[in-house]
Symmetry: C2
Subunit: 282 residues, 2 copies
């Protein structure tokens, strides 16, 4: 059963935009794609990911009941400001940005009051880019976060939540943008900072490749990183991230100090603690 | 074609001992298992992982052309010392310990000169324990390191290398114990220290579980850690590991400082460096 029989626009046909289009294919009658890259549009049209592509957003936005903006963090607000009068009356806009800051407050202020912006963060991604790598399986079993604003209509929050479950996300959580950013600085940006730092601390005295096990491989996979996107995400959440890095360094120093003092008891305590905590995570 | 038609003893029928027995099944006529845990022995016998199990090592060692010692790091030397007169003349012993230190020097000194000890490190493992979880696929495609001693016969180094490839390892490298420990402190122990510290730095203000993506999951999988084994490995390599932790912290501080100074250029440089380096790793 289709959730709504209506028109969807995807703004930004990259990896995540492509995933949204594919995962929502059965939920909408018409899917428009909006992108400056005509190659992404023609690929998406010819692969039936979208029904029609547009470089100029005016026409598709005016017809869309839902607009999903999958642009880089620093471009979302600019896009909305520029197009604030182009959205269909009573339509819903959502985004996919991994750091919220006070972007939602500012966007809501700019938009006409009959357009409802529902902030969202699909916690899924890959080390590859582009609509050609999009695959709706990327969303399968992942977490999805909605960051409600006081102006949001409950029915629209519910709509985004239902669509998230339809797209394959396993858990949808609602949380304020502030709390979202705090927890995400720990679970996402800190992980990436660590992976990057680990790879960069390689002194390369040896051919590392022949001395690695699965642990190093897993830990550093995300060190292959889109520098413009992640600069946006890191800088957009810098205060939280600095605190989390400091907290992590304290935790690592407990291990370092135990090594310096040959204190096996403290070291084993840290191992037991992490084992118990990690087992709580599915 | 079988490499040698002879007798093998596995000392310590845990996860790795079980993997060795399974992966070498076709290379030996008889496989003996030695363990203090009679449950591990009877399980291994009834599942045809070994031909016969022994609590007392004397008889099986006296018949074995190859003995693979899969005990905890701190027990390998004790086992060899206690059994130094039980090994078959002209037989080969190897181990699976992840940190070598000067253990090999001491072991060689204690052993009769007609017993050849070839130090080895199969770089593979799992977060589960016990022979019941052993699976020869764990070795498939992994790295294998041999740490030769001047007393080793070349033919025995070659034997262990050939058997490693037969067991499914994709790359066998020979390196001194000292260099082994230095590089392993980076690729293995540091990875585990980071994963443990990351999980333990969770302030748990939120239900972390609903806010994690694949990155956090991958990074922290190895935080489920066997505390006795890894205490052995960390303490056995503490000087190298302390240096690698400090080097890693310097690398993380470059990111932290870039965040503090809102210096996107430096941050992006770190991202570009890690992306390039990580791409070199298969």
């Amino acid at each position: 059963m289709k959730e709504i029989k209506k028109t969807l626009s995807i703004v930004g046909l990259g990896l995540i935009g492509g995933c949204y289009a594919k995962a929502l294919r059965d939920e909408f009658d018409v899917i428009y794609g909006i992108d400056l890259d005509e190659k992404a549009l023609s690929y998406s049209e010819s692969h039936k990911i979208i029904d029609k592509g547009f470089v100029d957003p005016k026409i598709p936005l005016s017809k869309s009941d839902l607009t999903v903006i999958c642009l880089y963090p620093n471009l979302v607000e600019k896009f909305i400001e520029k197009n604030k009068d182009n959205f269909k009356s009573n339509s819903v806009i959502t985004d996919a940005v991994g750091v919220k800051g006070d972007m939602i407050d500012r966007v809501v202020e700019k938009l006409p009051s009959n357009i409802d912006f529902v902030g969202a963060h699909p916690m899924a991604g890959r080390e590859v880019q582009g609509v050609w790598n999009s695959d709706k399986k990327i969303f399968s079993g992942a977490n999805f976060i909605i960051t409600p604003h006081p102006s949001n209509h409950l029915k629209n929050l519910d709509l985004i939540e239902r669509l998230a479950y339809k797209m394959g996300f396993k858990m949808v959580t609602r949380i304020t943008p502030e709390k979202h950013d705090e927890i995400i600085s720990f679970t996402s940006q800190l992980s990436h900072a660590i992976a990057v730092a680990l790879v960069n601390s390689d002194e390369k005295n040896f051919d590392t490749n022949v001395f690695i096990g699965d642990s190093f491989r897993d830990l550093t996979r995300i060190a292959m990183i889109n520098e413009d996107l992640w600069d946006n995400l890191f800088m957009g959440n810098r205060k939280n991230l600095i605190k989390k890095i400091e907290k992590f360094e304290e935790s690592l120093d407990i291990i370092k100090d135990a090594l310096k003092k040959e204190d096996s008891e403290s070291l084993k305590e840290e191992f037991k603690k992490s084992t118990l905590r990690r087992k709580e995570i599915s």
